[in-house]
Structure formats: C-alpha cells, structure tokens
C-alpha cells in the first residue's frame, strides 16, 4: 500500500497500453483490399469490413473479456478462493439456457436481438432463483456456492434436454456451436445491447474493492472495520449477474478467462483482492481480444470458436494451478 501504489498504477497503465496495442493489431490484421473489386468501391468495402465486421467483434471481445476478468477477481475475493470463476453463481448457465431456448423454438430468425434477449432473461431468472435459494438465509457462502451448482446443474440438464429433443440436425448444430462461445458475426446492435448491463454491473463490482480487501481478514474482522458484509455479497452477485449474464447472452459461455486472469495478475498487486480488480479487467480484455485474433488468423479451415480456444489454453493452466496450489490461507491464533 505504501510504495506499491505507484507500481500498481504503472501496471494498470502498462496493461491499458497492451490492450490498445492488441486491439489495433486485431482491427488491422487480415485482408482489407484484395477482393478484386473496382478501386472506387474499395474505401466503401474497407469501411464495411473495419466498422461493421471487425469493430463490433473487437468491442464485444473487449467488453466481455473486461467483464470476465473483473467478475473472476471479485468472486475469488468474495469467496476467498482462487479457484472461483464467474460461472460459479450459475448465471452463465442460466443465460446460456435462455439463448438455447430461443434457438430451439426458432425465435432467433425473428430478429437478431432475440437471442441475446433470451440470454438476458435466462440470466435474470437464474439470479432470482439464486436469491430464493441463498439470499434469505444468513448469507452463508457455502449456501451460495451450492445454490450456484444447483442452478448450473439445472441449466445444464435443460440445455441437454433441448439438444436431445432438437427439432432438426440444423438446430442441434446451431445450439452446439452457439454454446461453444464466439464473438464472430455480431453487429454494433449487440454491443449497444450489452453495454448498459456491463457498465452498471462492472461499476457495482468496482465499488466492492475495499470490502474485498477487508475480507482478507475473514467476515467478522471485516465487519469490525465497518464493512457491511451482507450488502457486499448482494452487490457482488447483482453486479456479476448483470455483467456476466449480458456477456454470455451475446457470446455464449467463454470459460477460463475469469479463472486464469486474476491468477496471472495477483502477485503483481501484492495479492490484495481490491487492487486486483482493474488489472484483472484490463488483462481479461487483452486476453480475449488476443484469443479472438488467434481464432481469426489461425489457418484451421473451419474457424475455431473463441470458447474452444480459451478452454484449450485454460484447462492445462487450471490443472497446473491445482497441482501447484499451496495452502495460501492461514487461520492461526
């Protein structure tokens, strides 16, 4: 907290620079000209590619990466567990189910926003269910985790049911591909749709920084420092629910970003949960933009899905974490 403050603002600046760099590379990578069109149409085409195709994709990757990195750091801080991730409260599962139902009943054809709206509805319902299951009691964290698992299981079961009863092979493959997570073929409409949710949700999460720092000492000691622990939990759940729910609604479930990024950043902020939030958010955005760039540029024939890419990197990292995890909690006397 003493001289660390300067290093931490330096870190944030560095991460922001890295994000800008990755974003510029992503925007400009790939062909803009060689479509064999008359030269008069080239600027029009270039603008079309830049602003109608690449920009929404880039902005979504940034917003979603930012959200996942931030929500991961906040939930790990709240649950005081480095293996927590944004999906743990069940909201991603609910959002995915909502979108799957839209595809299943073929409502997506009615308008491009039906799919994300279905996702947001699913996220909202799962948050309501989470509140019913875990909100009333004494705010016990185990109840919260169990409720999250229950909601995830229920969503997974219903999603599997939708796959099982899929009306056509086409719907089946559409659902499967959607579940893999991607920001390809999205428009600025999608960006505008989730931006308010992401802004409100992320603001709520940033407000929790000091409370999360205090929770390092455990709930009772945090309360003795004037932190309203119950309210803190509620704000985290609402904030993460809004921002993550909206993200999953447009892009499907993109795993591991919210798990890994806080880990990569934690030692650079002296392990303080509150100081971890902004670096995690910025690094999450950078990572997802970079992963999406790889997805676009890798010559794989069929384009890889973004969620597949993050899982391919993330799962081995997760195994590494489990293997090397030391006891990093003490409860001495």
């Amino acid at each position: 907290m003493n001289d660390g403050r300067h290093t931490r603002s330096g870190l944030n600046l560095l991460l922001f620079g890295l994000l800008c760099l990755t974003a510029s590379v992503s925007l400009l990578s790939g062909d803009l000209h060689s479509f064999g069109l008359p030269s008069a149409q080239k600027p029009v085409l270039r603008n079309l590619i830049l602003f109608e195709i690449r920009l929404p994709r880039l902005l979504l990757a940034m917003l979603i990466g930012f959200t996942l990195g931030l929500a991961g750091a906040v939930l790990q801080g709240l649950l005081r567990n480095p293996l927590a991730e944004p999906g743990i409260i069940g909201v991603s599962g609910g959002a995915a189910l909502g979108a799957v139902i839209v595809i299943y009943f073929n409502l997506a054809g009615l308008g491009s926003l039906f799919l994300p709206l279905g996702g947001i509805l699913g996220a909202t319902l799962s948050m309501a269910l989470l509140y019913l299951l875990a909100g009333r009691g004494r705010g016990n964290l185990y109840t919260l985790i169990l409720a999250g698992i229950a909601i995830n299981t229920l969503s997974a079961a219903l999603t599997a049911l939708a796959l099982n009863l899929a009306p056509s092979p086409f719907a089946l493959s559409e659902i499967l591909f959607w579940l893999m997570g991607s920001v390809a073929n999205r428009s600025m409409q999608h960006v505008w749709l989730i931006t308010p949710f992401v802004i409100i949700g992320c603001t709520a999460l940033f407000l929790c920084a000091r409370g999360l720092d205090a929770l390092t000492l455990g709930e009772q000691a945090a309360a003795s420092l004037g932190i309203h622990v119950k309210r803190l939990k509620l704000v985290v759940i609402l904030g993460a629910g809004l921002a993550v729910g909206a993200s999953v609604s447009v892009a499907g479930a993109i795993g591991f970003v919210g798990l890994i990024v806080p880990h990569l950043m934690r030692r650079h902020v002296g392990h303080r949960p509150g100081a971890l939030l902004l670096p995690s958010a910025l690094a999450g955005a950078t990572l997802l933009v970079f992963a999406d760039l790889l997805v676009r540029l890798l010559p794989t024939g069929v384009e890889l899905k973004l969620g597949v890419m993050t899982a391919l990197f993330g799962a081995p990292f997760f195994i590494y974490l489990v293997l090397t995890r030391k006891a990093d909690t003490v409860a001495g006397r």
Partner: protein, 263 residues
C-alpha cells in the same frame, strides 16, 4: 481513588444464540486506562459477550451503552473507528504483505475511494513499531509463525487507533515468550489510556497483567473486580472446579491453578 471513565455500560444484558440462552442478566462497566480480562470456563459466553459489545449479536433484552450512546444508534463506520475488535482466529486469506495487512486497520478512516494519506501511514508505521514487527513488514502473512501472526494481527488492531480494544483470546496457542509479549503490549495500550478488554484462560497471566477481571460462568457474571477480589479460592472452586496456589512476586499476587477439586 483515581477517577475512571466508563466507556461501556452494560445493563441486564440477555442474549441467545441459535435458540440457546448464552448470557443472563449481565451488568458491567468497562473503564478507560485499564486492561480488563474476561475469564471463565469454556462456553461460559465470553466470546458472545465480546460479539454483543460490538453489535454482532443482537441482545434479547437489556442495554449496551457505548460512550453514553445506545450501541444500536452507532453508525457503522464511527463504531469501527471507536472500537477495534480482534477475533479469536487471525485469518489471512491471501498472502498479502505484513504491511498491507496492518494497513487494513485504516479502512474505517478512509472515505469512499480515498487513498491512505500521510496520517494513515504514520499510524500504520507506529502500530508496526509498537508491536516490534518492523523486520517482518515485507513478509507474506501466510508465511508467519503463530506468534508472529498474532503480533501482526494486534498491529492491525492498533492501526485502527480506536479508544477501545476488544481482543478475543490473543494468547491461546502461543509460547510463553509470545504470551508475555502480547500481554505487555495490551497492558501498554491500557497505560496509554485505552480501554482494553481481552478474553483469556491463563489465570496466572490474568492475575499478573490485568487491572480488572470479569469472571463469567454459564452466561452470568459471578464476580468482577481486581484480580485479588475475583480469583478467590471459593470462586475458582465454584466456577472452574479447581484449587489454586498463590505466589507473591513483584508486589503482585499470582494465581497458579493447582489441581481439580473433587466437588
């Protein structure tokens, strides 16, 4: 007699926990400038009383006044600045540095979004100095021994710079050196004018260091007063079912638990 200021005034406090009554008709006053020991057998209600004094546990009936104001009327942050509370478990969920850990004690003083200023840093440094943990300040709290962690936790409590300190069993599980060091530290805080209350089990250290003792048994205050008034053979037999020996050293009467009584 020296004029003392009472910071806590507890009247007929009645408290239950999970449907079980844990405190019955407790009436007490906590004075400034004194180290007060709260003693009693296991599950006598000591920690519950401490938690009630911070407002963690709502009372069934009775009153707790803090600085002449009902506890329930205290604003959360103001209470956190006035009373520093150290729970029994000195938890550290992340391997933050000792300095950052102690700095958490300044949270009640920081306004929303405000960074710690020079005054906060001075108070943090002072707490680190007073507890003699300067050499540890760059270490991760998760790497400390039990005795070191206890001193760091007390430093975190001192950094709050509160008038009142409520400490729950700080010396349990520590070696004699650290036990005495912690008791001296608490005594020093009381000498500096704070009201310090600590839950403890060691009757020898209680009689050696505490200015006042509260003896709690089955949720009731059996006796309160100076160690000599409280640690009588009759009280100890009745409450702990033990007999004691006494040792006079340095002008203090030290109580040594000796054997279990047969009654």
């Amino acid at each position: 007699m020296k004029n003392v200021n009472n910071v806590y005034d507890i009247k007929n406090l009645q408290l239950s926990r999970d449907g079980r009554q844990v405190l019955t008709q407790v009436s007490l006053q906590l004075a400034e400038g004194r180290l007060t020991g709260l003693i009693g057998p296991n599950s006598a209600g000591k920690s519950s009383l401490l938690e009630a004094m911070f407002g963690f546990l709502p009372a069934d009936s009775g009153e707790i006044h803090l600085l002449q104001k009902p506890l329930a009327h205290w604003q959360r942050t103001l209470l956190a600045r006035t009373v520093a509370y150290l729970p029994q478990q000195h938890t550290a969920h992340w391997p933050v540095s000792v300095y950052d850990y102690v700095a958490l004690g300044r949270i009640p003083h920081l306004r929303f979004g405000q960074a710690p200023g020079p005054q906060d840093k001075q108070r943090i440094d002072q707490a680190i100095e007073e507890t003699g943990i300067r050499t540890l300040s760059d270490r991760a709290v998760t790497q400390l021994s039990g005795g070191e962690l206890c001193r760091v936790a007390i430093a975190r409590t001192l950094a709050v710079d509160a008038r009142i300190m409520l400490v729950d069993e700080p010396i349990a599980g520590l070696d004699p050196h650290h036990q005495i060091a912690v008791m001296q530290l608490l005594q020093q805080q009381a000498r500096n004018g704070k009201a310090v209350m600590t839950v403890m089990h060691d009757l020898g250290l209680a009689s050696r260091f505490c200015d006042r003792l509260w003896l709690l048994d089955q949720g009731r205050i059996v006796c309160s007063g100076t160690p000599a008034e409280v640690l009588t053979p009759q009280n100890l037999r009745q409450v702990y079912r033990i007999s004691c020996r006494e040792l006079h050293a340095g002008g203090t009467r030290i109580t040594i638990p000796w054997e279990c009584s047969n009654e």
